[in-house]
Assembly symmetry: C2
């Protein structure tokens, strides 16, 4: 258990780093009364939403925990060992609490760092960058330390794969709802603020007259910070769980925790050394720290493998995961960069009207999926072939390690990603408090770097989820084989498997549709409210001094709507898995997972890249091309961007979590499906 | 061979029916000089496009025929029997010629029936309906008779499954390009005419001042008549080919041709008896004749099975196919009918702007896929379980028969479907020649019935393609097993299969994207041309008597653009199959087909239903809801409809053919993949 203990120690080191960065951010100078006031509005709105969200989720978790205790891994009335049921249920609760905690911690510091970063911008871009980045890094460190700590402590105590699966399911189910809820909130506010403000009234972004402007900034925090943190927390734990489930039989659990610990260590070093170079390019600074972290991770794992005599084949499989991440990042960049053809073609098509914006952006999204799918396929293939000669079971272990390897540097990735919404908030605060053109220019530059990095991290998290769920599929097979004592295959020509595939491919579609309809309905309500305020509050439209919109009403609409819509979509995913399992049995579930995973990847890539493409086409036009701001092309591009918002920030990224949750439900309930399904 | 001979005789009867209907339509009274002139413009445009399209495709077919001769079923330099190569190549050419011929015949009569139906409308709705329907029925009879004739004659002569696969591939590859080309043509013209005419200039649909108006009508013929005919021709032959390939080993080929012959016979009876009831409801008349045909088919096959002692289990499997068709039809109707929630919600969302129209319509499209996918999955499962007790191999034969059974009534379906564009053209002719409000009202009613039926036939053709390609997957497995002498499974956990699935699900996405980008680019060119004509031809905008736009220039733009874009998308589908096969071997292709089929169905259903939903939301608003014509909601809905046009009429329906072609390529090249692939 040496490496398990080391993993616990490294995760404590991670907590210490998070604590250090946290107090560093807190110590940075605050601003005047006005900015602190608005900052506190954002903070209160974010906390209020999270409080209400967690309130609902606590009830959900409680119900599910009881069900788990009653049924898993064996029904309690026929279980040989009720303690196992209790452990699974407690692990589930443990996972959901840690997941919620990581989100809460990250969000809290983000709502402090946004003000401090805006204030620091007065001293220049480098200090502002440092505050933004270190604020994000608190989240990054919290996410990875919590997940590694939870997994290693749990394994140290229970030595039970099932407990880890329960733990992972707890984290995932919370992440599912947190992302869905946060995603609906943030895009409701964003879309409404843009349409009612920018498009209809032609007032600038983040204008304090806009009643939805605070809600928009709250959304950044609850959606992009807390939601995204929960997502990667969940992928990270799922990859550990899958590797442990497969690794136990091979006696390779030590290796799993070794690579996990080294990954966090690399991230700590990378985060502490991140700073902006003399050239003042924030994007370069973010990328550089990622490269440094990756390089440290590669060297550390290679050395550890040589010193402790781990197989270099498994090390190779781990590296393969990193390479896929790069491929998907490059693809995402090609389809969403304004220096490449897709974005420019969509901008050009916008001259002929919004229908052409939509058709072309959507088409590029469809095309963008293939290279990444091929990348994921090849990496799984290579990892498999690399590790297959080591013996039976090693091939799948190789795939799980490639997922884990990729996620090992996730501390750095989350730090980069959480940086984005923080500086986006800073920009909003600078605009709302009238800090002047110079500060706006700096915050704009920081914000733009955040957007660029976002495309890459989005690709990374899709790839990570992709490899993780392949490993989870293998874990599911392993569990079924252990339970039945038979070799199980999922033959595509078996009509039960085929049936499962057909249903499985429909689930991410319906899941994402429900989230988008949630945004759609919710935003219609909020736009009506914005219209009401502009029409009934005298002097608001004209910006009369002292006249303020009712920000809280908009925050409330976004909150209530998001909370209403967040449960059904997630429930559909979980319940459909159970229905297919209890009808079609383990074979149908095998197919179901295959269909769900592959179509989930397709739709997630489509939505992320189409959304990014529309977003940047609009920005490309705003930069003065094809008529610039206010032209017909610009109006069309704004419509494209609005369609893209729920694509890329609500539905698309939630699919990662959906496919993970479904895979975990299948693994956990596998023993039940074996016993109680209608078809066998 | 009794039933093979009977099939030949029945198909000759089908030709006779087509001939009778053809001469009946020709004998109907023609109209005045003006309508004949415009009618002949449409006819000439359609023929010119088809001539140029076939010209290109002839070269493509010639090249592929040579490749087939050189390589299939075995490379000619190592083939034990070169005659087999020759037969496969000739069958391929035969299939492509018959497919082209069926399209040509149907389109020719459609461009005559459109004028006659408009003229007949002067006498009332019933005569106009008869002309429109019988014009479509010529196509219906031609398509089914040609396919049954070709398949039975070919089997009678060669008794070789491979020849049938070659024949089917010939039909499919032609259909692929014909549908892609026709689909791009028709939507280029439709979208451009609408945007530049209806939206920008607010002139009515089919206004003769619009330079794109003739191109729009030509598009109906080359896209909806010729293209759709080629599609169902191809599905029909593929289902026969798959059933024969699987049926040979079971000695069940007789049964295949028996059901095929009885299906055509039922369609002949149904078509000849179709007429409008006293209540004057054309939609009811169309549905009624479909129900009659179906009932006759059910009775005839049941009687034949009892008399000739065919297994009733196989009969049951055949019936299952029909039921799926109904399920998918009902689903399509729910999501595209203006009396149901989805269409009304999209119409309501349009009040908040076009982004909401797009997001909600797209979401409903995503949701609509699941019921149909479940339906296809269950029917495959039931057909399998019904026939499995008959012995090894029967399960898959059952699935192939459920596809064949469904397609047996295709003669009726094609007749209904071809009716749509004919009466759509009639409406255009009535408008352009100013035949008055009464006639317009009649043609509008006929047109609207055509649109309703279209949703159902679209669902039908997707379901038919779905079951057919499942049968083709089984045929592929059969061929591989015969060639290797081993039992082959496609295990989802095999990394080669998994790799294949990942690539396979990306292909329909990229294929449909390429077609949509084709429409996008092409329509931008045509809109520019329409603007040019309105700006440079004096008196055109005002409708000065005697001033006519340059219709031919628009036809030419649509033609050139469609011809340029039609090859690459199809080539991508075919080439990717070969690449995956030569890299990953038969296992990867198994996965590739699975991924391609399932994601093809998902995307096809999404596009067909989202497109239909947008279309009818627009019509619902035009009927006076949410502000009616000219309101903001209407403008938003028009944008949705324009996005939906290439979804539902270009990309969506072409996917059917794409998945069929890919499945046939895999089966034909299977022996090559076994020998020459990099991975095994």
């Amino acid at each position: 258990m040496t490496w398990v203990v080391i993993a616990i120690i490294v995760s404590l080191l991670g907590f210490a780093t998070a604590g250090y960065l946290h107090s560093w951010v807190i110590k940075q100078p605050g601003g005047g009364k006005e900015i602190e006031e608005i900052g506190s509005l954002i903070r209160q709105g974010s906390q209020a939403f999270l409080r209400r969200e967690y309130n609902i989720l606590a009830k959900f978790v409680a119900v599910v925990a009881v069900i788990i205790f009653l049924l898993l891994p064996e029904p309690v009335w026929s279980s040989p060992n009720i303690a196992k049921n209790l452990i699974t249920a407690i692990s589930y609760i443990f996972g959901s609490i840690l997941s919620g905690l990581a989100g809460l911690l990250g969000m809290n510091i983000a709502t402090i760092a946004n003000v401090k970063s805006a204030v620091a911008a007065k001293k220049g871009i480098a200090p502002a960058f440092s505050v933004g980045f270190r604020g994000g890094a608190v989240m990054g460190m919290a996410v990875v330390s919590t997940s590694l700590f939870g997994a290693s402590v749990l394994y140290f105590i229970t030595r039970d794969a099932n407990a880890l699966l329960g733990f992972s399911f707890g984290a995932s189910s919370l992440a599912l709802f947190a992302k869905a809820g946060g995603g609906i909130f943030t895009k409701t506010a964003d879309v409404s603020a843009d349409l009612a403000g920018k498009v209809e009234l032609s007032i600038p972004e983040d204008d304090p007259r806009n009643p939805a402007v605070i809600a928009d900034n709250v959304g950044d925090n609850v959606g992009d910070v807390a939601g995204m943190g929960a997502d990667l927390f969940d992928s990270n734990i799922a990859s550990i769980a899958a590797a442990v489930v497969i690794g136990i039989a091979l006696n390779k659990v030590e290796l799993v925790f070794c690579y996990g610990a080294l990954g966090l260590l690399s991230s700590i070093i990378g985060v502490l050394n991140a700073r902006m170079g003399k050239d003042g390019n924030p994007g370069k600074a973010l990328n550089m720290s990622t490269y440094i972290t990756t390089a440290i991770f590669i060297v550390l794992t290679a050395v550890a493998s040589l010193v402790f005599n781990f197989s270099m084949r498994i090390w190779g499989a781990t590296m393969v995961g990193l390479i896929v991440g790069v491929i998907i990042g490059i693809t995402s960049e090609y389809f969403t960069s304004d220096e490449k053809n897709p974005v420019r073609n969509v901008a050009k098509a916008s001259e002929s009207g919004p229908a052409f914006t939509i058709i072309s952006g959507f088409s590029y999204g469809l095309i963008s999926a293939l290279p990444s799918l091929i990348g994921i396929g090849i990496s799984a293939l290579v990892a498999y072939k690399l590790c297959d000669p080591l013996g039976p079971g090693y091939a799948m272990f190789g795939i799980s390690m490639s997922a884990l390897g990729m996620l090992s540097i996730v501390g750095m990735i989350v730090s980069n990603d959480a940086y984005g919404p923080i500086v986006d908030n800073s920009r909003g605060l600078a605009e709302m408090t009238g800090m002047g053109e110079d500060i706006l220019r700096i915050t704009d530059e920081l914000d733009s770097a955040g957007n660029t990095v976002k495309a890459v991290t989005k690709g990374f998290s899709i790839a990570a989820a992709g490899l993780t769920v392949i490993a989870l599929l293998a874990a599911y097979q392993e569990i079924v084989q252990n339970a039945t004592g038979e070799i199980i295959t999922f033959d595509a020509m078996d009509p039960l498997v085929f049936f499962g595939v057909l249903v499985g491919i429909g689930i991410p579609a319906i899941f994402s549709a429900m989230l988008m309809l949630g945004v759609d309905k919710n935003a219609q309500r909020m736009i009506a409210e914005i219209h009401r305020q502009f029409n009934t509050i005298p002097g608001l439209k004209e910006g009369k001094p002292g006249v303020k919109p009712d920000y809280n009403k908009c925050i409330d609409i976004a909150t209530v709507g998001a909370l209403k819509e967040l449960l059904p979509a997630g429930a559909v995913a979980i319940i459909s898995t159970l229905v297919v399992g209890f009808v079609g049995g383990i074979q149908a579930i095998g197919g179901f997972l295959l269909g769900n995973i592959t179509s989930g990847l397709l739709i997630a890539l489509l939505m992320a890249n189409a959304g990014g493409c529309w977003d940047n086409s609009k920005k490309y036009i705003e930069a003065g091309n094809f008529g610039g701001k206010g032209s017909n092309a610009h109006k069309a591009a704004v419509i494209g961007d609005t369609v893209g918002d729920p694509f890329k920030d609500t539905a698309g990224p939630s699919i990662n979590t959906q496919i993970t949750v479904v895979s975990l439900v299948a693994s956990l309930a596998a023993t039940l499906f074996i016993k109680f399904s209608i078809f066998r």
